[in-house]
Symmetry: C2
DNA sequence: TATTGTTATACTCTATAACTATA
DNA sequence: TATAGTTATAGAGTATAACAATA
């Protein structure tokens, strides 16, 4: 049993390593860092504030400022001041940003290459197990 | 079914995010970056060459040089020239490095906090599914 | 006075290119 | 000449502290 547990820990570690590597490669295909692609992926239709993004990405607001500035310089996002509270800036994705984001999604082959090895019943099994782990 | 697949993709993404965050926090408890802790974790008893480490960590050799230099400056690893081929330097972990590595392992609460939510049969199930995904 | 975001700064991660030492 | 590793350099990620604008 200890063996199984240690084996499982290692497997999860391997999974995370493979996932991160695949995500980095996908981002690189459009000259984005993983952090930039991740931010792009977190943007909602109505636009997120800088603070909300920092909270979701678990990083400092000053870091978000830099990431958004680089994405904005490439025309992938825009800062829109909130009319109701002009301290707040909402970050929205531009059409060019949507195209780049879609390209990252298409290039990200982990779901199809790896999770695609499971049958449909196995996917349900895995989903149930992960639900418990992530609850 | 599409719903389930998309849900599964998101769950795996959430798992990776939670894992990475937990690992970073664990490393931070001993003032290591995640990259430094990861290198420390990859060291074997006989010592890895710089090139082997670069291969395992999927990064450039010059990056390994810097990481090892910082760990060496803290007395956590040592560079030992290979007697058979003096171009090669084997990186070995010091007793202080072992203590720090163990501290990271103890502080890394993901396996106990998250995987610990599964029963033993569920762990076997998950291990079997991950074996297929990682094969 | 409190909050949102930015700026200045510093350190780390990471890669590329040029270099040294050894084979 | 080829290989292992380092150095120099540069761009990006990240946090802290100080700051500006707004509430």
């Amino acid at each position: 049993m200890t063996e199984v547990t240690e084996g499982l820990d290692q497997q999860v570690s391997d999974l995370v390593f493979a996932y991160d590597a695949a995500y980095g490669r996908a981002a690189q295909t459009v000259s984005l860092s993983a952090a930039q692609a991740c931010l792009l992926e977190h943007l909602t239709a109505d636009g997120c504030s800088m603070g909300e993004l920092a909270g979701e990405l678990l990083c400092d607001a000053s870091n978000v400022t830099q990431l958004v500035s680089r994405l904005e310089a490439r025309g992938l996002v825009a800062r829109v001041p909130d009319p109701a509270d002009r301290r707040i800036k909402r970050v929205s994705i531009t059409p060019a940003g949507q195209r780049v984001r879609d390209a990252v999604r298409r290039a990200f082959d982990f779901p199809s290459d790896r999770l695609g090895r499971l049958t449909q019943p196995e996917r349900h099994q895995l989903a149930a197990l992960l639900a418990k782990v992530l609850a």
